[in-house]
């Protein structure tokens, strides 16, 4: 990868505190346009905090965050959504009391282009045929996998240029995880850049182009996905040195 390329999103030397906890220490990473980038790490390594920092939900006290060359620190979430960043939260967190269609509608809340929304709705439903079958069902009655799909579909409804995903595999059976990751690849192939935060390293690396490994708030490894897959230190990062 060429370092002179302008990244889609770039964090440089970011420190974040969460309450009294120093959650991110000097984190730098870049997300290339058109690629899948993953951020790996065990429990409590600071993965979610990274996402929150990008979205301005946690304050970066040091460092800069740039999106398409523009500093986005201090922007409201609505401004970020308008600029094409969208997120699939951890634990899915769909609106359980609203129907599938209503959930998707909320995803396109800020958009006013009716035709574009309709187009995206069709695209999204073709990506997730299961949701089409259940479009009138209330979110809370969906299975875990379907909820994950709905959360992804909802995020896509804002027609993002960058999709942030927080632990899409969490709490799902392996077969579903495989399905979800296949869809991530498809989304990426349709032109959306994806940033996946995952604990499930093997799965994430199997689809990503580039990966970072986070350990107690620090980036300890950064390499192409292929290299990381064979890197011995990977396991160490999760399970400690042997």
């Amino acid at each position: 990868m060429d370092d002179n390329d302008r990244a889609l999103l770039e964090l440089s030397h970011v420190d974040t505190f969460y309450g009294p906890i120093h959650a991110l220490r000097d984190v730098s990473l870049r997300i290339e346009d058109g690629h899948i980038t993953c951020l790996l790490g065990g429990n409590a390594s600071g993965k979610s905090t990274t996402l929150k920092t990008i979205l301005g939900m946690a304050d970066a006290v040091n460092g800069t965050i740039e999106y398409l060359g523009e500093r986005i620190g201090g922007m409201t979430t609505a401004e970020l959504v308008q600029r094409g960043i969208s997120m699939v939260p951890e634990n899915r967190r769909i609106f359980t009391r609203m129907t599938v269609m209503e959930n998707l509608e909320m995803g396109s809340y800020l958009r006013t282009d009716k035709d574009g929304i309709k187009e995206d709705l069709e695209r999204v439903l073709s990506l997730f045929p299961r949701l089409e079958e259940r479009h009138k069902q209330v979110g809370g009655t969906l299975s875990g996998g379907e909820q994950q799909m709905l959360a992804m579909a909802r995020a896509l409804m804002s027609r993002p240029r960058l999709l942030l995903m927080d632990e899409p595999s969490m709490g799902l059976a392996p077969i579903l995880v495989q399905q979800i990751f296949d869809i991530i690849v498809e989304i990426n192939q349709q032109g959306t850049s994806v940033f996946v935060v995952e604990q499930n390293a093997n799965m994430a690396l199997s689809i990503a182009d580039y990966g970072y490994v986070l350990q107690t708030g620090k980036i300890v490894l950064a390499d192409t996905a292929a290299n990381l897959q064979v890197n011995k230190m990977m396991r160490e990062a999760y399970l400690g040195e042997m």
Partner: protein
């Protein structure tokens, strides 16, 4: 690095206008709601200025003061500790401008009132009121100009005051405050001064039947000025002398101060006279209840809005047990024989109310206890129970309290009973605070689940708090019944609960001296200011809101509660659990 922003002239003017508008609306509020007119009946300085007028003048001045304050804040939003000078022309100008706006509001009111009959809707807008707000000129050109001119000038002066030397500012502000305060309690001063043994002229010189005299006012101002000029030096000297004393003498001095205080407390009714003693007793009723509710709300963290129910149970059971009214009770016990029974009955009532609400969340608990309080009143009012507790007619012929053969008569004697009961309530609260029980309560207040995990049986401690709180309230209720000799259901409305809660909050929840201060401010002051009556609860409401927003810890916060109600403490609850979500069955995938 100081961020001094450079504001354009236009935005400085806008700021002053904004403040003027804001204060102008507040002024209109005071006029429309009737405060100005009501307080016009009372003089601050006899035949010179009424309280209603001084309120208006203070609001005028306030707009100027506020506008310069806002200007300062706008120029230097971050660093409070750094003085950023506001140049004099701006101070005068901003003040004057905002004052002009406030005055214009009054002029507008006068004009509008002359065109349409506002009084049909707003009862306070009477011809009298128009006279008051125009300072006697009515609907004339002068009536329009005078308020505007006064307001502009006063606001400009106040604006300038904000930037002048601190001691000048203090002198003016303190003089106004103390003169107002002295005028408010002038009745009390008058009564205290005019008693046998005192020369009659003393009371006549300083106070009149309606407000301070000019001499009185000058005296107050003189005292304030003297204090500002000489006070610091005197204090300094005293401190220096004290530090050279031997420890033993210092201790003696402390003892001396305490015994002096005690002596003062004991002699208070004799010093102040009959009517003020009556007021003191009324304050006492609320101080006792304040201590009781402080255990329930302040220590154990259970927001009880129906506390009046226990006061009522105490008063009613005392009344039923002692009354000589032929068709009710029939026990005709003495006060002292009845008291232990009353306390036990009320304690049981506390447990009965406490038991069903044990598992309830804080806000639900508040509403349910409020409901209990109302139910108690409805029952007291009902015909159904009237054979037992008198219904709407209440219970009469409750005998006076006697010690041996001596019947205690008059507020000056009863005072000692209130003092004793207050001391008992204080003592209990104080002793429990630093004990295993108090710690268990506080732990429960801070985090019920964790308190359980530390071995605290929260069921027991909640009941205990309700029980003890109720018993203390019963003490107050029993004295109340015996003091009045008659009780009616209407004395036990939810307003009592709200008053007690308000005084706790004003004094600082959890703080024992705070209870006393709160009771004096919220119960004592309105008693002295009869006109205040109708606006008492208006003020409580406004106080509750502003206290919660600006100073939730109260005037005299207890040390450990100082920041209890502040936002920052929530940081602990919200400490981020890094990547692992906490279990919430609502999102059932967390650990």
């Amino acid at each position: 690095m100081i961020h001094v922003r450079d504001l354009s002239q236009a935005s400085k003017l806008r700021l002053a206008l904004k403040i003027g508008l804001f204060v102008g609306i507040a002024m209109q509020y005071l006029i429309f709601v009737g405060i100005i007119e009501t307080f016009h009946d009372r003089f601050l300085i006899k035949d010179v200025i009424s309280i209603g007028e001084i309120i208006m003048l203070l609001v005028f001045a306030g707009s100027g003061y506020l506008s310069v304050w806002a200007l300062k804040k706008a120029l230097n939003p971050v660093h409070e500790e750094v003085e950023v000078p506001v140049r004099r022309p701006w101070a005068v100008g901003s003040g004057a401008l905002s004052g002009l706006v406030v005055g214009a509001f009054i002029a507008l009111l006068v004009i509008v009132n002359s065109v349409i009959e506002v009084r049909d809707v707003f009862v306070s807008i009477s011809p009298d009121l128009i006279q008051i707000v125009t300072f006697g000129r009515g609907e004339t050109l002068a009536g329009l100009v005078i308020p505007m001119a006064l307001s502009t000038i006063l606001a400009a002066i106040a604006g300038t005051l904000y930037i002048v030397r601190a001691d000048v500012r203090r002198t003016v502000v303190l003089s106004v405050v103390w003169v107002t305060f002295a005028a408010l309690i002038s009745d009390l001063i008058r009564v205290s001064l005019s008693r046998p043994g005192f020369p009659v002229f003393l009371s006549r010189i300083f106070t009149s039947s309606n407000g301070l005299t000019v001499v009185g006012t000058v005296t107050v101002v003189a005292v304030v000025v003297a204090w500002i000029v000489f006070g610091p030096a005197v204090q300094e000297k005293w401190k220096a002398r004290k530090s050279t004393m031997s420890p033993a003498r210092q201790r003696n001095l402390r003892y001396g101060q305490w015994s002096l205080l005690l002596l003062l407390l004991l002699l208070l009714p004799l010093i102040v006279g009959v009517f003020p003693s009556e007021v003191l007793n009324n304050i006492g009723i609320f101080i006792i209840m304040g201590f009781g509710l402080n255990i329930v709300v302040g220590m154990a963290g259970l927001l009880d809005l129906g506390y009046v129910a226990f006061f009522a149970v105490g008063a009613y059971s005392m009344a039923v047990l002692t009354t000589l009214q032929p068709d009710i009770g029939g026990f005709e016990l003495t006060f002292w024989a009845a008291l232990p029974i009353v306390i036990i009955i009320t304690g049981i009532a506390g447990l009965l109310v406490g038991a069903p609400v044990l598992r309830m969340r804080g806000d639900y608990l508040a509403i349910v206890t409020l409901g209990f309080g109302e139910i108690a009143r409805f029952l007291a009012l009902s015909d159904w129970l009237s054979p037992f507790i008198g219904g709407a007619q209440g219970i009469i012929k409750i005998p006076k309290i006697a010690i041996g053969a001596t019947v205690l008569r008059g507020p000056q004697v009863l005072y000692f009973l209130f003092l004793a009961a207050g001391a008992v309530a204080y003592f209990i609260s104080w002793r429990l605070k630093d004990s295993r029980t108090g710690r268990a309560w506080m732990a429960m207040r801070e985090d019920e689940k964790v308190a359980e995990a530390m071995g605290v049986n929260t069921v027991y401690y909640k009941l205990l708090a309700f029980g003890i709180g109720a018993m203390i309230a019963s003490l107050s209720g029993a004295l109340f019944a015996a003091k009045l000799g008659t009780i009616y259901p209407h004395s036990f409305s939810v307003l009592v609960s709200i008053t007690v809660l308000s005084l706790l909050i004003v004094g600082g929840i959890g703080s024992l001296p705070g209870v006393i201060v709160g009771a004096f401010v919220l119960v004592g002051l309105p008693e002295l200011l009869r006109e205040f009556g109708e606006f008492r609860l208006l003020m409580y409401g406004a106080l509750l809101i502003t206290m919660m927003i600006l100073r939730p810890e109260g005037i005299l916060p207890s040390v450990e509660r100082a920041r209890e109600l502040r936002k920052e403490d929530r940081a602990q609850d919200e400490v981020y659990s890094l990547d692992e979500p906490t279990a919430a069955p609502a999102t059932p995938s967390g650990d």
